[in-house]
């Protein structure tokens, strides 16, 4: 842990000195298609879709086991990957819902969201382009 923090500090310091610009922290943003009328959303609302409690939007997931996915559910709903899996297995094996489709990269999630007016996904802030709209930023 200390090693990691030291390492991060060193990288930050080096980056700041080299480029004289502030390094962007890995920020995850929740996105929808440009065709979706939604403009802003609270974390509680977004979690409804990602935890299968509402069908109004279609959630799009990142790859299972990926760092962005684990952090996303922790930040969004304070749940770890196993809790989310247990919750979805309740819905899946009672035929109530099918789990979100998974895509392997920010670019693939972005494309899937851009193409579907009902989709909701999450990607790293750096991967946002004008095909999608950011409706929530998770710190």
């Amino acid at each position: 842990m200390h090693m990691q923090i030291k390492h991060v500090m060193a990288v930050l310091a080096a980056a700041a000195m080299a480029a004289a610009t502030l390094p962007a922290y890995a920020e995850t943003v929740v996105i929808v298609s440009q065709k979706n009328p939604a403009t802003r959303m609270f974390a509680e609302q977004a979690s409804q879709f990602f935890l299968g409690k509402s069908n109004m939007f279609t959630p799009i997931d990142q790859a299972e086991g990926s760092a962005i996915r684990n952090e996303f559910y922790q930040k969004l709903a304070d749940k770890d990957a196993a809790q989310v899996k247990a919750l979805w297995s309740k819905l899946v094996f009672t035929g109530k819902a099918t789990p979100p489709k998974e895509y392997k990269s920010n670019a693939e999630v972005r494309k899937a969201v851009a193409d579907d007016p009902k989709a909701i996904g999450y990607i790293d802030k750096s991967a946002v382009d004008d095909t999608v709209k950011v409706i929530l930023t998770l710190q």
């Binding site: 409690k53 509402s54 069908n55 770890d80 899996k85 297995s89 899946v92 035929g95 099918t98 789990p99």
Partner: protein, 404 residues
């Protein structure tokens, strides 16, 4: 729903799936769940079993109590229509593992808030009824038998409708179902026998979710028919021979008897605290041998990262009978004793401690120790001594739950 139609629907769904599987068009999802667990108790005088199991555990290690395997295929036909089939292998009313179709339905999404399913669905009598076999989705190793043993009905052929609506931060879900449940009842008395039953049924549940709290109220009514329930039919015939035909008719399931199951339950998952509690009643709407019962349980757990220790207490008690025993019966003491015993509900309570450890992706390890106190008629223990199991029984179980 008639059987041929159901089979046709499932075959059609499976046919489409097989084709899709080879085409790999992404609309087919195959998933599964299972539990591999071993259990034993500290006695050889009675057996501890799940509800409707023909064989339980004694003082030897057995894997049949909790082990199961479920396989599910879902095919998304288009935006609004999908088909799902699920088979479950486990030890139930047979002494060996058997496989049944537990779910097999076509689901039509009417809009974002309403969907209708037609085919075979699980009857959601109680809070966790419809996912009680999915170990990974549950905290405890098995549903408390005190409460879940009250309703013998599982899958039903028919239809259900689900309505989901958000009122601000509160989610409302209403489910209504109607159909016919067909299955087997394991009767442990007289060495054990299996009877077939048929039960036209209907019911509804209302679920409210607000933040970490989920509250559910459910009610179901079933018209229980069984014509080959040998021990009861024998008693009915004996009573008729003794000039007590009406009493015999009152006890019997041959003419069909309406029973209701009502439950109120809640779960709280707040920060690291997990609580699940439920209270349920089984009632007879007309005279029948099956005693009325009340049951409840409370489970509390605390999450330390991936390790979740929990404790639960469960109890069941009798709540009377609708059968009016004629005074004439007292003149035949052996028959009187048999009827009185039949109309008395088995009662027990249990305490259990366990731990769930999510040690790897999609796999959880569970260890659970149950201490069962039989109170009346050996509680839910099977193959108990004729005089009744008086001593408490301890059951230790360990295993893994997985999903894929």
């Amino acid at each position: 729903m008639n059987k041929q139609l159901l089979v046709a629907a499932i075959l059609a769904a499976l046919g489409v799936q097989a084709q899709a599987g080879t085409l790999g068009d992404g609309n087919l999802t195959i998933s599964g769940f299972g539990t591999l667990a071993a259990a034993r108790s500290d006695t050889d005088t009675a057996q501890f079993a799940r509800y409707n199991q023909a064989v339980g555990v004694k003082d030897g290690v057995r894997i049949g109590l909790d082990s199961n395997l479920g396989l599910q295929a879902t095919y998304q036909v288009n935006d609004w229509l999908s088909g799902t089939a699920q088979v479950l292998t486990r030890k139930n009313t047979s002494t060996s593992f058997t496989t049944d179709l537990t779910w097999g339905f076509l689901k039509a999404k009417i809009n974002d808030e309403i969907n209708v399913r037609v085919g075979r669905v699980v009857m959601p009598a109680f809070l966790i009824s419809d996912y009680q076999n999915v170990g990974y989705a549950n905290t405890m190793m098995r549903p408390p038998i005190e409460l879940y043993g009250q309703a013998p009905l599982e899958a039903m052929d028919g239809a259900d409708v689900n309505y989901q609506h958000a009122f601000g931060d509160t989610n409302l879900t209403v489910q209504a179902f109607v159909g016919t449940s067909r299955g087997k009842l394991f009767v442990a008395s007289a060495g054990g026998s299996v009877a077939k039953y048929r039960a036209p049924l209907g019911g509804a549940s209302v679920t409210l979710e607000h933040g970490p709290v989920t509250f559910r109220l459910g009610h179901a009514s079933a018209d229980m028919h069984s014509s080959d329930l040998t021990p009861i039919n024998t008693l009915t015939a004996t009573l008729k021979g003794a000039g007590l035909a009406q009493l015999g008719e009152d006890l019997s399931l041959v003419p069909g008897k309406r029973m209701t199951f009502t439950s109120v339950g809640a779960t709280v998952d707040y920060n690291n605290v997990l609580v699940q509690a439920e209270y349920a009643q089984r009632r007879a709407k007309e005279a029948v041998y099956i005693p009325q019962t009340n049951a409840w349980y409370v489970m509390a757990g605390y999450r330390f990262g991936k390790v979740l220790p929990y404790y639960a207490h469960a109890a069941s008690e009798g709540a009377g009978t609708k059968v009016k025993v004629p005074a004439a019966l007292t003149r035949i003491p052996p028959l009187n004793a048999a009827v009185t015993n039949l109309l008395t509900a088995a009662e027990q309570s249990s305490d259990l401690v366990g731990v769930r450890w999510d040690f790897a992706k999609s796999i959880a390890l569970k260890v659970q120790v149950d201490r069962i106190k039989p109170k009346v008629k050996s509680g839910a223990l099977i193959f108990a001594p004729a005089a009744g199991q008086k001593d408490s029984v301890t059951v230790v179980a360990a295993g893994v739950d997985f999903v894929f």
